[in-house]
Symmetry: C2
Subunit: 669 residues, 2 copies
């Protein structure tokens, strides 16, 4: 079939795969990215980035020391933001993310929190005067800001932050202080070395009373010398699993004074005499959080797809072992076990991507409604985005590791890009809300809904509508070919509903024995499980709905195979839940398992075409194993030449340690 990636001199194994695909790869890419115009813009942005040498790495980043990588990221981010007019910066979800990923790869940079947290906080939390003072300064890159909230001893629990901001009416200043080691700000991106400003969240004290955490804008470093201001101790928190191009930092205040106007005063205020004026609205900022999560989900989907792309292309050109004696070594993609490792990851990537679009659309709808003062959808979309963030980040990370492991020894080399992708992606399980905490937030929402249903007084959000549906006695599954979208959704609804009410019952049982809070704790494993099932139902349904919109049958067929594989794999992974209460029979469960094998067979010829459809450029994948042309082995050898250790034939270790040791050993004989 039509595949624009077929070129002369490619590895014949990968060309063969591309010819074997049953659909037009360009059309699939259109379906995935939302239209021909979107693909066109991707191509233009790619071409621009390729044309600008200052946006490239002088050597692959994996050969750099941490210092070199920091330097390289700072250099590139300045060049990148010098050229922002190349993209529609208002479309960060689409063009912005793509542009950034082409230039920065999987590296963070000195402005990462400046744009995502510092500027939005200024926009959202300042009064008019403050807005005038700070916004254009920040947007023009006249200062670099970050967002300092988390402390060494305090993560998600904002209430217990220890940093204090005590108002001194005599000088009309706030005194920012870090009373303990645990109050050190810890982790904010670009805080260590790059930023000269920060939004600092601190406990506000005035007239001897604590009014809880409030945001302050604080200068950290001198504008001219970039040295830390007196009373400020700031530095890098050291090397991490990933993100080592970023100077995540710590920050300690020694009674550091800032003017009264340093407090962001849109909602709360402290007057000159120290009088505190409480905010009118209590909770805000849900919208931004949802937006950040839609970005994260798209990012996770993209990383998972990249991993699947690398592993599937490599599995098409790697030949190892024989199935039939004497028939020659086979492409490892022909092994059922290999397909079972890789294809479900690809299915997940599609499912997650479509969910990201859906959340982005919901975010825009909610934002629209908010301008009219309508907050109805907020709790629903907040719960959903929390749950998706948790499930997607964990399953993406697991899927990436499966892709890596499926590539054997070469997957362990940084040449594969997998270690980098994994470390980058798995961070998403922790930042922007730890995954278990997120699942428990979703559970609060679900328990409220369950309670309403039980009390016969349900005013359910659309997303929870299935909780009020009557129970189904048995799954309608008869054969994998006839298992309809509606049947699939019904079955996932059934198990999600059952687990949600099970968790509810467990919670109620504990509440009769102990306090509400301790009951919640004792039910929390069941609650997390309920949340996961709720989110999986959402992912399955969204995936099916999206695929149903594919007009072209040649696209719909492999996409449908992916939806089945996705659903069958989920069912088999929690088979017990589907068997319980005789909802599925043993033979139905066996039929589902068999369906996995059929889907793998059907998807095998389209495996390479499906990953090609993600429109990854080699520079974006940054993987020797995942090269478009499939010519992996010469490239691996070439890549290895760049190793730091290959700069000289003989390392100093020979003269210093190993040579003398061997000489002595030989002299003894």
């Amino acid at each position: 079939m039509v595949n624009p990636l077929i070129r002369p001199n490619d590895n014949p194994d990968i060309t063969k795969e591309r010819h074997a695909g049953t659909f037009d790869v360009r059309k699939m890419a259109c379906f995935l990215y939302g239209g021909e115009d979107k693909l066109q813009r991707r191509a233009e942005i790619l071409e621009f980035v390729k044309s600008k040498p200052e946006l490239h790495d002088p050597i692959p980043v994996e050969f750099m020391t941490r210092e070199e990588r920091i330097d390289n990221a700072a250099r590139k981010i300045v060049a990148m933001t010098d050229n922002l007019e190349q993209i529609d910066a208002s479309d960060f979800f689409g063009e912005g993310m793509y542009y950034q990923s082409l230039i920065m790869g999987r590296d963070l940079h000195p402005l990462s929190l400046h744009f995502v947290m510092f500027i939005p906080t200024i926009q959202g939390q300042t009064d008019d005067e403050q807005l005038d003072e700070w916004l254009s300064l920040a947007i023009s890159r006249g200062i670099i800001g970050t967002y300092a909230q988390t402390e060494l001893g305090h993560g998600t629990n904002l209430k217990n932050l220890e940093t204090t901001a005590t108002y001194d009416p005599k000088t009309e200043e706030f005194i920012i202080n870090s009373p303990t080691i645990t109050s050190a700000k810890w982790w904010p991106g670009a805080l260590g070395k790059s930023s000269n400003y920060a939004i600092v969240v601190a406990q506000l004290y005035t007239k001897g009373v604590c009014h809880g955490p409030h945001p302050f804008i604080v200068q950290l470093r001198d504008l001219e010398t970039h040295k830390p201001m007196k009373g400020i101790r700031v530095g890098d928190i050291g090397p991490k699993f990933g993100f080592n191009s970023s100077d995540n930092g710590f920050l300690l205040f020694d009674n550091y004074r800032i003017p009264r106007q340093g407090m962001l005063m849109r909602y709360s205020k402290v007057e000159r005499d120290g009088t505190y004026i409480a905010p009118k609205h209590s909770k805000l900022g849900y919208g931004t959080m949802v937006f950040v999560r839609s970005i994260m989900i798209k990012d996770q989907a993209t990383q998972l797809a990249a991993a699947a792309c690398i592993a599937i292309r490599y599995s098409a050109i790697r030949r190892q072992g024989e199935i039939e004696q004497g028939a020659g070594e086979v492409q490892i993609l022909d092994y059922q076990t290999q397909q079972f490792r890789l294809m479900p990851q690809l299915a997940r990537a599609f499912a997650f991507m479509f969910a990201a679009y859906e959340i982005r659309d919901m975010y825009m709808k909610v934002t629209e409604q908010l301008t009219h003062g309508n907050v109805d959808l907020l709790p629903e979309i907040h719960a959903l985005s929390s749950g998706l963030k948790s499930v997607v980040s964990w399953e993406a990370a697991q899927g990436i590791e499966q892709c890596r492991l499926a590539c054997g020894g070469h997957g362990y080399s940084l040449a594969s890009a997998f270690p980098e992708i994994y470390a980058y992606s798995v961070g998403g399980c922790t930042y922007e809300g730890e995954n278990i905490v997120m699942l428990l937030q979703v559970a609060r929402f679900l328990m409220k809904a369950a309670k309403e249903v039980r009390s016969g007084n349900a005013k359910l959000a659309a997303i929870c509508g299935y909780l009020a549906k009557p129970d189904l006695a048995h799954s309608k599954f008869a054969a994998w070919q006839t298992y309809s979208d509606a049947n699939i959704v019904q079955d996932f609804e059934h198990v999600a509903r059952r687990q949600i009410f099970r968790a509810y019952d467990v919670l109620m049982r504990h509440q009769r024995e102990t306090s509400t809070e301790e009951a919640w704790n004792r039910a929390s494993i069941e609650l997390c499980k309920a949340s996961r099932m709720h989110v999986r139902l959402y992912l399955v349904r969204t995936f099916l709905e999206k695929v149903a919109t594919a007009a072209d049958a040649s696209l719909r067929s492999p996409l449908t195979d992916l939806t089945r594989l996705y659903a069958f794999d989920l069912i088999t992974a929690s088979q017990g839940e589907f068997l319980k209460g005789d909802f599925m029979s043993d033979s139905q469960a066996d039929g589902i398992r068999d369906g996995i094998y059929r889907c793998l067979e059907r998807l095998r010829p389209n495996a390479v075409s499906l990953v090609d459809s993600w429109d990854f450029d080699d520079a974006e994948l940054h993987s020797v194993l995942g090269r478009r042309d499939g010519n992996v082995y010469p490239a691996l050898l070439e890549w290895a030449q760049k190793s730091q250790l290959n700069k000289t034939e003989v390392l100093p270790t020979f003269e210093k340690y190993l040579g003398p040791m061997m000489k002595e050993g030989r002299s003894k004989l």
Copy 2:
């Protein structure tokens, strides 16, 4: 209770935990390591290592560049082997591993393959004359050797290696050649820069006939200059996920000549005129393989225990969030979800450690039998060790990641040691036999046994005896307290047996439709599953049997809780298998799930004492989060000061990029 780790000035939260333990930690350590004398030797070795500054790192290795780390490892390994008389080197499983881990941490070194592969190959494969020539030279460290088998394009399939060794009778030499890029030797440890000799596995050609892969001893580098010999291209393969202190290498031969005596001739020979003499025995070396795997399993158990130790100690001193309003922040170890993340990992570590001992004992028994020419147990122990290697390495890696994630943001920092532990441990899924390949090897053994049972002609190995037992209709589980060891084993036997015969039936069904080989491929997911269940049964049984030998009731009680947690967690994770065929009822399955919660409650007070029992020294854990004294936060701040980026207050990036950018931004306003 008695806990020798309680000291003044420790974090009070961790001291409180140690007082709350219900058993004597020293006694538990004795039980775990096999007696007071073993603990005594550990203490002596630790003291020796601590007393020798040349065995220490000048700065923590995570702050070193790759070059510095390579240098440090070479320096230490020379010092380490200079002092080998400090340990009983014949007991590598016990003293050797401990001594090495205290000095090298999780770093490999220039002699890692010299001792484990090069010397054993010389011992096992040379004729008498060759043995005289090479063994004492290698043992005295007069040369450094490695083992070069795997090639760039060829991993486990030895038969298809491409490197050739062609005999030239005119000069009585072998010509070693790498005919293609894919024939490059790739991955061997210490090959890139450190070794000057290697055992090279190459296809032997003489008189125009290929006799398959044979081992040759080949000089790679000049003894005096350490430069590669003419005709040899050798270097480092570049940075990896982990093991970056090791110069894993590539190696290419350009018609490189070695004397005829370079072929290791204990079994096969090539005579002066080129006549090939075939070996008398066909397969050897199973024994060494089993020994290496017993080492790996112990190593994986230790790494998992270290991760659990770090996470559990940290969870005891980390306070975050409130369960009861106003009651203050709680130790995060009090959250049920946190316990559920961590305690099963600890249970696994115990199970894996006991399995490692068992395999070591079996290895010694088999070695003893082999000296009498008895090879009966070989297939059984080989299959078992392959399966254990696969299941243990994967579950250990997953468990380590759970421990890391349970520590939130701090788990992502290299200060935690988790990223290092994970990258180190997960490598075990790939090296020494890729895990899926290993499981399929076990399946060969199991299918043979299944066939025998079906044909009524079973002569089963003890380890497969359960395959011939009659099927049980229903699990005897009534309540978690009364679920006996025998009942548990029976139930695991049931599901393993059922899956093994299911896989057998699937295999037979496919064999009726296609070739035997393709049938094997089409059944391979089922076959892997069968192998996993067989191995898990073994792990559960071994764990129960070992714990039953604990004479002291105060030890047996928490150990029994761990066995239950281990078993219940496994059952719940594959609940579907236990529900099928109505083997367990829904309420039994719920009872098992409930048993998990009860075990978590019961184990909670002993959590810290149980990890203390592993007798890890702080230097061995190498984790700021896992410190014995629990004083984590000041230590984190101190650790961060060492960051490469904190050597100067202002990085060069300010003057080069960020400063000018900001100045320009401000000038525009």
